[in-house]
Symmetry: C2
């Protein structure tokens, strides 16, 4: 008898019919003799509707009250899911985050889980019930309702799996698993049977929107092995776990293309200490998230100058250019350019650590396909390049072909 934590996202519980499908799936696991904890999100659309009402009342609603409001979304789903199990004769009980013993800090709308005391969950499992837990929410030790922010339901599932020492944690979503590349772009892309936490983290941060990084980080920290799989079929998904020796045999785990970045370049920036920090402090103060940063060696006589490039999410480009404009006098760069027509192509794999020549092979493949490289950034298990957006998909296919097939 195994203890399984299953998480179903907003699309999987999007209406009462789909909730019945989830119940049928849970019943199947239960019928195999397993103990099952089910974590559910708010039904898709519900959270957006609550936010809309709040904004009708107040453009920037109080965060404590936003948590009070949004927590109702998951509470609705747990009750309906428990009913759907009852309807097919499966004993089940629903718990809010608070009732499941999920204690968080008091940072409303993006609370962190501090600890989980799942004694009530254990009690119900031992009495033979399926336990349905509201994802995305918790309670401070003073009894305030909190929410965990984006990707919060995944986090609830993984944290509960850790606290319960679950044998398996399944993240049900609308994709089959993690692929070597987006199958809509690369026809030969294939589903990965397994992937390491670090590779998953790199892919998550690259826009392969299966899961938020924080949930993967949490799983890595507590050694929670989890499976990403589809709620629409019975295909095995992708197991995410600690790196194993055999994983290194595969040089490249996946290829990703992020079309949502824009590039800003400051030309002829005086190469004085503190200039870069001034730029990125100003961007951080404006809550603009910066992804890649590239600065090369400086040149010139007198005060040497250099070019400084970085990328931001496309929707934040306008805000970023305003910030940079405001710094022109102070920093004294000659001019700056902004380019939305870029794509960020990345290859990820723990295997590249033990295989030399990976970067060379990637760059060569791009050159052979007539793709110019604007910027390069590397980590231990990732190589990213900024290229022309129009050539992005063709470049992705070529690189996938070269490394994976």
């Amino acid at each position: 008898m195994a203890l399984i934590v299953q998480k179903y996202g907003g699309t999987s519980v999007g209406n009462t019919e789909r909730i019945k499908n989830v119940a049928a799936r849970v019943a199947k696991s239960r019928a195999q003799g397993d103990q099952v904890v089910v974590v559910v999100s708010a039904m898709s659309g519900v959270t957006d509707n609550l936010i809309k009402m709040a904004k009708d009342i107040m453009p920037l609603p109080t965060e404590r009250e936003m948590d009070m409001l949004l927590a109702t979304g998951e509470q609705t789903t747990i009750a309906l899911t428990a009913m759907a199990l009852h309807a097919i004769g499966v004993e089940a009980v629903s718990f809010t985050g608070a009732q499941a013993g999920i204690v968080t800090d008091g940072v409303h709308t993006k609370a962190k889980i501090q600890n989980i005391t799942p004694s009530q969950v254990h009690g119900m499992l031992d009495s033979g019930k399926v336990v349905i837990v509201a994802g995305f929410q918790g309670q401070t030790k003073e009894g305030q309702i909190t929410t965990l922010g984006r990707g919060g339901s995944d986090l609830t599932a993984i944290a509960l799996a850790a606290a319960l020492s679950a044998d398996l944690c399944q993240i049900y979503t609308d994709v089959d698993g993690v692929y070597t590349a987006d199958p809509r772009i690369v026809k030969t892309a294939r589903k990965l049977p397994e992937i390491s936490y670090d590779e998953m983290l790199e892919l998550a941060s690259l826009g392969a929107k299966v899961m938020q990084s924080r949930s993967v980080e949490f799983a890595k920290k507590f050694g929670v092995v989890f499976e990403v799989r589809s709620s629409l079929n019975d295909n095995p998904g992708t197991i995410v776990k600690e790196e194993t020796a055999s994983m290194e045999d595969v040089v490249i785990r996946g290829v990703s293309l992020d079309k949502n970045q824009a590039k800003v370049t400051l030309l002829s920036v005086p190469d004085r200490p503190g200039v870069a920090s001034r730029v990125f402090k100003a961007l951080a103060d404006a809550t603009i998230n910066v992804d890649m940063i590239v600065q090369n060696v400086s040149h010139g006589s007198g005060v040497p100058t250099t070019d400084l490039s970085f990328t931001v999410d496309k929707p934040e480009l306008l805000k970023a250019t305003k910030v940079i404009n405001g710094l022109k006098q102070e920093i004294g760069f000659s001019e700056f350019t902004a380019d939305e027509k870029i794509g960020k192509l990345s290859i990820v794999g723990v295997g590249m650590r033990s295989h030399s020549g990976v970067a060379a092979k990637m760059f060569d493949t791009l050159a052979q396909n007539g793709v110019n490289i604007d910027m390069i950034s590397t980590s231990e298990i990732k190589i990213s390049v900024i290229i022309n957006l129009e050539k992005g998909e063709a470049a992705m296919r070529a690189v996938h072909q070269a490394f994976i097939g």
Copy 2:
């Protein structure tokens, strides 16, 4: 500085605009220096929608899960109401029933309040905040979410007013207060400045649908004086309180007409011990609520027989006739009749205790207007008659004219 509990029903908080209106009204009370506790219901339509989803999944949803589900309705309203106060610069904080310290028994969907520990509410009031409490809900001492059943939000307000020793409890609704009769039928009906708990109870049970009886009973038990008033204007409403000597000067407080009753008569019922109990036990087992019961002296030689009449809510008539049909063999009455075309006309007033001839005057008025009386039933402060439905409204006007003007 007074402590006021204000309750706003589902229509008063039916959309974000109306919630803003409620906030404006609360702010006015607060600006007068009063401490304010606001109890709100679910936005109108929300509860029905949740019930519909539940019934989509399961015709008879589990009661614990219904409570989990329905409690989200009021939780949504408290968060939005707190935001609406914040938006106009009033400090406010929302509490679920559990957070407000409302402890109930474990009878899901119709829990009874066992006690209230409003220490958190007091703390927030003392720090200058308006406290918004979710009506209709509480929590068992084991932490299970419960709801209080029909009229539950009124009950929350009155129970909180008792626990907080509030100076005033205002029940805001879509009517101006309690009237001597339905103003849509009786043009000369007027709003009552005050009414006793017992009179209010009789009127409530007579279908003057301002409040559920249980809230009035609770108020009577704990001596909570409350005012029923409109959330749409600033008119004073009706104060409901313990009977005072001066109240007896008024013979009749109000006249009501209940068009929702149907009458069943069993003819020539053998007058043996246990027959009536057999009939009403069978109706109770079928969860049919019986209102008036009339049986007169028996007559005939041999085993004397009598006629037995009772009234039920119209929607339950079909069910009732089936039950009665099933008893025909066993009890041996000759036949039974069912009549939907009846109205129940009642006059209510604590003053009738000290004024003789009230019944005579009522019956005389009806006779003068050509209205035949089918059944009569009286209590200490009420006289009800069953009459022809078609003559109901004219009879109501005539009786109102005779006693009130």
